[in-house]
């Protein structure tokens, strides 16, 4: 069969840049984890925890996450549609705009230009850059799909398209603000309304950026890595509609026990529990696809990353709904438990799947064999251990913290002052920081392996060539 002239150059470029921003995200993460144990590491005004933490999250979600989704969407859309990209020029422009946006974001955040809204800190001029970026990207993907040569769309395309419209709606509504100066604006909404809009955005950014796109990636790269199709395309369809429908109701589980109307909180709680079904639909679909293929967990490093990734997705989507229950939220909300949860999703689920996809692609894009499979295995174990050390230490810390915050004496007074609970966190914060360093080491091994592959890997045998 003749192969259309796919644009792989843009895929390569986005992979390189997303990895660079990923390293920035992890480095800043390690730095701020040490700032929590040693406040002298804060260098005011620019390098304090308060300004660096948004840089960490933005570099992670938008630089590493979205950057690699740009790459992988462009790869998947061409292959799944059997048609070249609609516009190479637009994609090239998007690459430049992407890097310009991330750099502007990093500089403005350190200068203290922030809206304060979590995962949407960028001020209005940077917001506009993000919107242009997303429109350019969406048009290119959708036009490619429209001109496809494959009639029926594979499930990965569904998740990709849902992410495109989802992010657009969420970002635009939450970005409503009134500018005061070039880098200062006030939210269009006030108080409780603002909170409700923000967490409708915040939680669904998790849906549309950190769930739908990695699922698209998982559904594409798992069968590609094992050589066996997914268990059921129809299960993935039902899970898809349930997921995109139910996610949007759940934002207020971030606002349990706050002044947001009670019925909104209750709906959020109920839908969060219901979300277990479609989430685990994908998890089971992944596991069942491995029927008769489990030996690949030993032989195929790509499968290890993917199956561990979907396993962490499964754990994440059980832990998340349990945290969305009022009583449990009362206990663990605001504690260290929550960063433990978030990082299982970020470092376990999303990043594991991205690592696998990039390992799959780089040899094909550079027409070389992977430099070292043992190093890929070392990378796997380092990021797995690093992430477990991080999450488990934070869960334990969170439970102790919550227990101490809520402890009462027999006369009804509080047992511990706030500082007595804070000092108990120091050992856990040390362990967490070490977990971060281990994870960073894993990422560096990953990069070394890729660089060696691109520079001096063995030319690929024809069978591997894309």
């Amino acid at each position: 069969m003749e192969t259309p002239p796919y644009n792989y150059a843009i895929v390569r470029s986005f992979i390189v840049w997303s990895i660079l921003w990923g390293v920035v995200a992890v480095l800043v993460g390690v730095l701020i984890s040490f700032q929590l144990v040693e406040p002298a590491l804060n260098l005011p005004p620019y390098l304090t925890y308060g300004r660096l933490r948004p840089l960490h999250t933005n570099a992670g979600i938008y630089g590493w996450g979205i950057g690699s989704f740009f790459a992988l969407f462009y790869y998947m859309v061409q292959r799944l549609c059997r048609t070249p990209l609609w516009s190479d020029g637009l994609a090239r422009f998007q690459l430049w705009l992407f890097n310009a946006t991330i750099i502007t974001a990093a500089v403005t955040l350190l200068l203290g230009y922030t809206t304060s809204k979590e995962y949407h800190e960028l001020e209005w001029p940077v917001d506009i850059m993000v919107v242009v970026l997303w429109v350019v990207f969406s048009v290119n993907i959708i036009m490619t799909i429209v001109r496809r040569r494959e009639e029926q769309m594979y499930i990965s395309l569904w998740y990709m398209m849902a992410a495109l419209v989802g992010v657009a709606v969420l970002y635009l509504v939450n970005a409503a603000e009134v500018p005061v100066s070039l880098f200062k604006s006030y939210s269009a909404y006030a108080g409780t309304n603002d909170a409700n809009v923000q967490w409708w955005f915040g939680h669904n950014a998790v849906a549309m950026v950190l769930t739908a796109p990695p699922l698209a990636v998982f559904y594409y790269f798992l069968p590609k890595s094992t050589g066996v199709p997914i268990f059921s395309h129809r299960i993935s369809i039902i899970a898809f509609w349930s997921l995109v429908f139910m996610y949007l109701w759940t934002g207020a589980h971030h606002l349990l026990w706050t002044p947001v109307p009670d019925w909104v909180q209750t709906l959020a709680m109920a839908f969060s529990i219901m979300l277990i079904a479609p989430s685990w639909g994908s998890v089971f679909n992944g596991y069942l696809s491995m029927n008769g293929q489990w030996h690949q967990m030993r032989e195929n490093y790509l499968v290890k990353f993917l199956i561990l990734g979907i396993t962490f997705y499964g754990l994440q989507t059980l832990q998340g709904p349990s945290q969305a229950i009022r009583t449990f939220s009362a206990f663990i909300h605001y504690t260290e438990w929550v960063p433990g949860h978030v990082h299982m999703g970020a470092m376990g689920w999303v990043s594991m799947v991205l690592f696998a996809a990039i390992y799959y692609l780089v040899p094909r894009l550079y027409d070389r064999e992977l430099y070292s499979i043992p190093l890929a295995n070392l990378h796997f174990w380092l990021v797995l251990i690093g992430q477990l050390v991080y999450s488990v230490s934070m869960w334990i810390a969170g439970l102790q913290q919550a227990g101490m915050w809520h402890a009462l004496n027999s006369d009804g007074s509080l047992t511990y002052t706030f500082m007595e609970t804070l000092v108990e966190m120091y050992p856990y914060w040390w362990i967490r920081a070490i977990g971060g360093v281990i994870y960073l080491a894993g990422v560096l091994v990953f990069i070394y392996n890729l660089v060696r592959t691109a520079r001096s890997g063995k030319p690929a045998a024809d069978a591997v060539a894309a």
């Binding site: 929590l36 144990v37 040693e38 406040p39 005011p44 005004p45 304090t48 925890y49 308060g50 933490r53 203290g112 230009y113 922030t114 809206t115 009639e151 029926q152 769309m153 395309l157 569904w158 398209m161 849902a162 419209v165 989802g166 709606v169 009134v178 005061v180 100066s181 006030y186 939210s187 006030a190 108080g191 409780t192 309304n193 603002d194 909170a195 409700n196 923000q198 949007l248 109701w249 759940t250 971030h254 026990w257 002044p259 947001v260 109307p261 009362a330 909300h333 605001y334 809520h406 402890a407 004496n409 006369d411 009804g412 007074s413 509080l414 047992t415 002052t417 500082m419 804070l422 000092v423």
Partner: protein, 285 residues
């Protein structure tokens, strides 16, 4: 059907997304921040307070401090009356936060004197030895820009006078920050302090064990303002053997808010008695 028609698919996906969005995000606007939510005593920020709020946002304080007290026993005991929707109608953006690496600040206003805040912002560990908060002494060096703050007030539609704006001349970001912190949570009347009932008899007068416990509590809770030996500082000198136990207990337990003396009721009466013993009967000087 939709699996072959991308445009139709995009429309259906958007529709699926919009149902939950409309119910849980759009419709609540009909309830929230309406007359039913209004609290008459809640006022907009003054120019100085708003300037402080903007510094709070710029420094990302919300990354470690929340600003909502939940209607839970421990929250209310630790921080004060739980938060009401009507208290936040002037907050653009809201600053409820999602982590309590540091304590909640929703009811911080009036809890400590201005001097406490200034010193704490300049060097947190000088007040709270094991704190991991970064130092914000540089706020002292940054003068406010009255013209810019006037513009902010206009965009927000908050009332101000030219005298308010003129008064900002010579003020620093530190002054603004302290003014903002002192405003937090003061929109509703302070709940009456839990009444101390009974005849207030010292349960362990001059007991050495309680004195030792008191000494530790003093270092953690009192030394920052009253000096590590009670020699005075932000708060007055504390002379031993110069108080009635019951009066001293009441002062520590209830605080003297007009004077800047915080209430330490959250410690519980046992610890307050231990403090009383230490302050009144320690051997020093």
């Amino acid at each position: 059907m939709w699996e072959k028609k991308p445009v139709l698919f995009l429309l259906l996906a958007t529709l699926a997304i919009l149902v939950g969005t409309i119910v849980t995000m759009v419709i609540p606007f009909a309830w929230v921040n309406t007359e039913a939510d209004r609290i008459a005593t809640v006022t907009p920020y003054t120019p100085l307070q708003q300037a402080g709020r903007d510094v709070y946002i710029r420094e990302g304080c919300n990354n470690c401090h929340s600003q909502t007290v939940r209607p839970l026993v421990a929250d209310v005991l630790r921080y004060g009356e739980y938060s009401k929707s009507g208290e936040f109608v002037y907050d653009r953006p809201f600053l409820w936060g999602s982590r309590r690496t540091g304590p909640d600040l929703a009811r911080l206003g009036g809890k400590y004197p201005d001097a406490w805040h200034t010193q704490h912002m300049e060097a947190p560990t000088s007040m709270i030895p094991k704190s991991n908060m970064p130092a914000y002494a540089f706020l002292n060096q940054n003068p406010l820009d009255p013209g810019y703050i006037r513009k902010c007030m206009k965009v927000l539609g908050f009332p101000y006078t030219e005298a308010d704006i003129a008064a900002l001349n010579g003020k620093t970001e530190m002054d603004a920050m302290v003014a903002y912190l002192q405003k937090l949570g003061t929109g509703i009347p302070k709940a009456a302090a839990a009444a101390v009932v009974g005849d207030l008899k010292n349960p362990f007068p001059k007991d050495p064990g309680s004195m030792q416990a008191g000494q530790q509590l003093f270092a953690q809770n009192c030394a920052a303002c009253h000096g590590s030996h009670g020699e005075g500082g932000i708060g007055p000198e504390l002379e031993p053997e110069s108080y009635q136990d019951a009066d001293l207990f009441k002062t520590i337990y209830n605080g003297i808010t007009d004077n800047g003396m915080p209430s330490f009721a959250a410690l519980g009466s046992t610890k307050v008695w231990q403090l009383t013993n230490f302050v009144n009967y320690r051997k020093e000087h």
